[in-house]
Symmetry: C2
Subunit: 216 residues, 2 copies
């Protein structure tokens, strides 16, 4: 089973690496990081680069596609007509699952793949996803047909475990969960706008345009 | 504040990228991925490479060091006397925090940095950590003085949020938790040996030597 994880400039590393760490442990999985060009792709912080081992054009029949999100780019080239959008439209005809993490759902939506569907994105970008004709949901993971979307960044882990269960069965997914010791104990109850202190939610919403560059 | 995240061949990607995704969001943070040589470092699955932006020798006074774990290597070179072990001993004299994720604590222990201290590692490698004179703990995150160790793989997220709170205060850590939407909802209660089905724990323990190459 071929799994393509898409990389592009300003990608959020954990959006990509969370699902990778889960899905690459499926015995049937053949995970490939793909991008417009092979080689290093710089993440949003500027302090990390991930390597794309294949060009998009080399992986034309993946069974699973995962599109991570991005932040802080002055130009959202990946939302415009072009190589990535063309590739997504083509490979989506073949996929068993088309998935995203965080603002990655906006990339799928820009390709028209989520019109009329339920999906989720990073909580700061919900309006932006809705603008593409998507029924936005306030859930951590949303499954609508073969489209599986996750909320921001760390939600890719929960999404990928759901996908691992769909692909390999519950026991396989539980084995992977144990292998990565995913028994979360966040030190604070602040992981969503509903639970974080109001002052923090307000402050982060106020700088949303800066964080997501025009999101909302 | 300079934060060095160490990379070496066969590293587990999420061990490194989880803490990166949290710590790089600290406004005071200057995160650098370091390795013996600059350039691509292939992870344990073989399906992903992360880029080291600096050689160890270029970052000699980090305030925080994070050592991720590894799996499945035929040669655990990083446990032997050599460049990485020498570097760890030298920079540890300067650090405010020396941290690890998963089997990364065994790298610290091999350098003698955890003798007589409490620490944790990946659940399958506890005996191996204990063999270095470490008091192993059955906790997700252990803080003993300036040494902060996390259990396997995904535990690096919880560890890094603890560290973010120590460095930047609780509000800052909560802001980061909200930014990465860390409100985990694992689909199964199988993230530790205490909660996973016994058959899965038994099976994984049986192949432990294969997974960790002689661990235990």
């Amino acid at each position: 089973m071929q799994i393509a994880i898409v990389l592009y400039d300003h990608v959020t590393a954990l959006d990509a690496v969370g699902p990778y760490e889960v899905l690459s442990r499926l015995p049937c999985a053949d995970v490939t990081f793909v991008a417009e060009q092979r080689g290093a792709v710089r993440c949003d912080s500027g302090r990390l680069a991930l390597l794309a081992d294949a060009e998009l054009a080399e992986v034309m029949e993946p069974d699973v596609v995962v599109v991570p999100g991005w932040s802080g780019s002055p130009q959202d080239r990946w939302l415009e007509a072009g190589t990535l959008q063309d590739w997504l439209l083509t490979v989506d005809r073949h996929t068993t699952w088309t998935a995203s993490v965080g603002t990655g759902s906006i990339v799928l939506a820009a390709a028209g793949l989520l019109i009329g569907r339920r999906a989720v994105t990073h909580w700061l970008a919900t309006d932006r996803l809705a603008a593409h004709g998507v029924a936005t949901a306030n859930q951590r993971v949303v499954v609508d047909g073969k489209y599986v979307t996750a909320a921001g960044v760390s939600a890719g882990l929960d999404m990928a475990l759901r996908l691992a269960a769909e692909i390999g069965g519950d026991s396989m997914a539980m084995s992977i969960q144990l292998a990565i010791e995913y028994e979360p104990q966040p030190p604070f109850d602040a992981g969503s706008a509903a639970t974080a202190p109001a002052a923090i939610v307000t402050a982060m919403t106020a700088v949303r345009d800066f964080i997501l560059d025009g999101a909302g």
